[in-house]
């Protein structure tokens, strides 16, 4: 027979993957709820997922591509910027959406038991749907411009996985912090904005002085975005320093995020 032990918050507990697995249906229903609710009663529904990134891409193309005339590695600027926006949107969703996810589901957290990590997890997975649709748009663009993807494209799944890991790490950190410190809600928009500008979404890594690149690569989005471009088009700056630095930082964010989340989740229901 199943036996549940209830112990004080200061007692140690390990990450219980088996339990998380047994709650996979709840995870599914929460993702499904968010998506359903997001597009119900909108006139064009799911089309928004297509229109939003296209609009952003157009604005950037005009601003940075035409007016500022930023270099784009010999690619059409629209394709260039879209390949950067693809992973960026996933992260931006993790910052704003996953970051506030626990607070948004305050009632659930305070009234019923389930592994709390499901909530930011569901929010990140929700972003994956948009990501998938954006991928389709990118391939349409590639076809439209008659670009032949590089052979390195086989590495793309690795970079997608990398992005997800980073998104989860950021989501764990921010959502857990947000329960304790309401200030986080005010910081998130800034963080998102600043992070965007220090990431090579609209410009190329080649614009960054070579000596400063290792420092710049401590922003894990540098490795991810450059990785996306490299695997899709085999273009961009040399990545020998960029990848290790960004990868290590991603791992640090993910692992510490997971630990921080598990340490603070015991008191979520008390303070949320």
């Amino acid at each position: 027979m199943e036996k549940i032990e209830i112990k004080p918050a200061d007692s140690s507990g390990l990450f219980n993957f088996r339990e998380l697995w047994s709650y996979r249906e709840l995870l599914y229903f929460l993702v499904w709820r968010n998506i359903k609710a997001r597009y119900s009663q909108t006139a064009i529904g799911v089309l928004w997922v297509v229109i939003q990134p296209l609009m952003v891409m157009l604005i950037f193309s005009v601003l940075f591509g035409r007016l500022a005339n930023l270099p784009s590695e010999g690619l059409p600027y629209t394709v260039f910027v879209f390949s950067g926006l693809l992973p960026w949107n996933l992260i931006a969703n993790a910052v704003s959406g996953a970051g506030s996810s626990l607070i948004m589901n305050r009632n659930l957290v305070a009234k019923v038991y389930f592994p709390r990590i499901i909530i930011p997890l569901a929010r990140v997975l929700e972003g994956l749907i948009d990501f998938g649709i954006s991928c389709c748009i990118l391939f349409c663009l590639i076809l439209f411009y008659k670009i032949i993807p590089a052979r390195t494209i086989v590495a793309l799944p690795f970079f997608i996985l990398w992005t997800i890991v980073l998104a989860l790490g950021v989501g764990f950190w921010l959502s857990a912090l947000n329960v304790r410190y309401k200030d986080v809600a005010h910081i998130m928009p800034f963080l998102s904005q600043i992070w965007f500008y220090v990431s090579p979404v609209a410009y190329t890594l080649n614009l960054v002085p070579e000596k400063a690149r290792w420092l710049y690569s401590l922003n894990p989005m540098v490795g991810i975005i450059e990785g996306f471009r490299w695997s899709l088009f085999a273009r961009g700056a040399s990545l020998t320093i960029v990848f290790p630095a960004s990868l290590i930082i991603t791992a640090v964010i993910f692992i510490t995020g997971l630990f921080y989340f598990y340490n603070s989740e015991k008191t979520f229901a008390d303070i949320i």
Partner: protein
């Protein structure tokens, strides 16, 4: 251990309370408040807005064992720790000290319709809420038709629940809750919402399940506890006062309530509300305005309550209600100035509220009342079992007789005729 479902050892829960004095609600109040404070208390006095952290034990040293298959009522007055205990056992919060073991799959119903999304349809919410309560999709599939027919909402399944009336909403929520069939079930005081007929349906569902499952439920209603439970657990100020046979526990609870009422309204700490208006004391009067110790059935009587506002200014949009309960906690009626048609736009900052009842239509027995008041749509004071009165046999009927006890708490005036046909 095969026969034990729940075992708790020395469970304690400490909260650090951030005591923030409720500030004035608008700028004008704020300015006048600061001025008053400066004048009366002097500038040097410590700012009363400052935060003081202090520890409160919501539960302390609670140990018990519950046998498999028993239905246990958790009783105690407000703030006794009932919900805290339920939350700890259902793993929503962790205890500060002690430990517990729960044997078997457990589910909890701390709120009905948890996680309902108003944009989703009834059908979708059944799946969502079911999953949140811990049901598997296959289990929901299997019980779906049963849940739908239980809720009596067959025609509204594809309607987003934001178009539901509150009654429909509650029915859907309860229908799902009633089909949560875990081996152990924790239920907070949620049965108090919903219409009577539907409540009965849910209760019988619990009863039916109780034979093979262990159920712990919180209730203020002693007759419900009496009807449903095999035993009861009484909490008082965070401590386990007694556990065991329901009759003796209920008796103890009622005695505690009477003792509590004896302490007087002004010293009661088990109250909620913002304090803009507070009940200070109460007494009972007969039709001549004399203080009495007990009422008599059929007399004109009054419940007289003294109140005081927090500030020396008039109170606006005041509504007061006294909810009468019989000695088991069954609600008899709600006496409220608004319902009676006496609207108070403005009342003096201090005064006496008198609620007159003409020809008291109550059977002899003990009754308590909860006192509740609202100022400007905000709850200002709410006290469960604020007062008590005894009703003695009296001249309700000209015959001088009354029905035998056991035929309900209320009396009706009635006239009889008979004609040949």
């Amino acid at each position: 251990m095969a026969n034990i479902a729940i075992k708790a050892e020395g469970i304690g829960k400490k909260y650090l309370i951030n005591q923030v004095r409720r500030g004035p609600s608008n700028l004008r109040d704020h300015l006048s408040d600061s001025l008053r404070r400066a004048l009366f208390y002097g500038i040097s006095r410590k700012n009363p807005d400052s935060r003081i952290m202090h520890a409160v034990w919501a539960l302390k040293d609670v140990s018990f064992e519950i046998e498999r298959g028993s239905v246990v009522g958790i009783i105690g007055r407000n703030g006794a720790g009932k919900t805290t205990l339920l939350k700890i056992l259902s793993r929503v919060i962790r205890p500060t000290s002690g430990s517990a073991e729960v044997y078997g799959r457990a589910g909890s119903l701390l709120e009905v319709g948890l996680g309902f999304h108003e944009e989703l349809t009834g059908r979708e919410n059944i799946y969502l809420n079911g999953a949140i309560l811990g049901m598997k999709k296959r289990e929901i599939d299997r019980k779906f038709d049963e849940i739908v027919s239980f809720s009596e909402l067959e025609d509204f399944l594809e309607t987003p629940i934001k178009y539901y009336s509150s009654g429909m909403y509650v029915r859907l929520a309860f229908a799902i809750a009633a089909h949560l069939q875990t081996e152990i079930l924790f239920i907070d005081e949620i049965l108090s919402v919903g219409d009577m007929r539907f409540q009965k349906k849910c209760i019988s569902k619990i009863e039916e399940a109780g034979r093979e499952r262990t159920v712990l439920f919180v209730s203020h209603n002693m007759s419900l506890v009496n009807a449903l439970c095999s035993c009861a657990l009484l909490l008082n100020g965070g401590r386990l006062e007694a556990i065991g046979d329901k009759e003796s526990i209920i008796k103890k609870y009622i005695e505690n309530t009477y003792k509590l009422i004896d302490t007087g309204l002004s010293s009661r700490t088990d109250r909620t509300g913002n304090g803009a208006m507070r009940f200070v004391k109460y007494h009972l009067e007969n039709s001549k305005g004399q203080k009495v110790a007990a009422f008599r059935s059929g007399e004109d009587v009054s419940i007289v309550v003294e109140y005081a506002g927090a500030l020396a200014k008039k109170l606006q949009n005041v509504s007061v209600s006294f909810v009468l309960n019989d000695f088991l906690g069954n609600i008899v009626t709600d006496l409220a100035n608004r319902i009676a048609g006496d609207i108070w736009h403005e009342v003096p900052p201090k005064g006496i509220i008198k609620c007159r009842i003409k020809k008291l239509p109550l059977m002899p027995g003990k009754y308590t009342f909860n006192a509740f008041c609202q100022v400007n749509a905000l709850v200002s004071d709410m006290i469960w079992s604020a007062g008590i009165f005894e009703v003695e046999p009296g001249p309700f009927f000209t015959s001088g007789r009354l029905p035998d006890s056991g035929f309900g708490p209320v009396l009706f005036e009635n006239e009889w005729t008979v004609e040949g046909s």
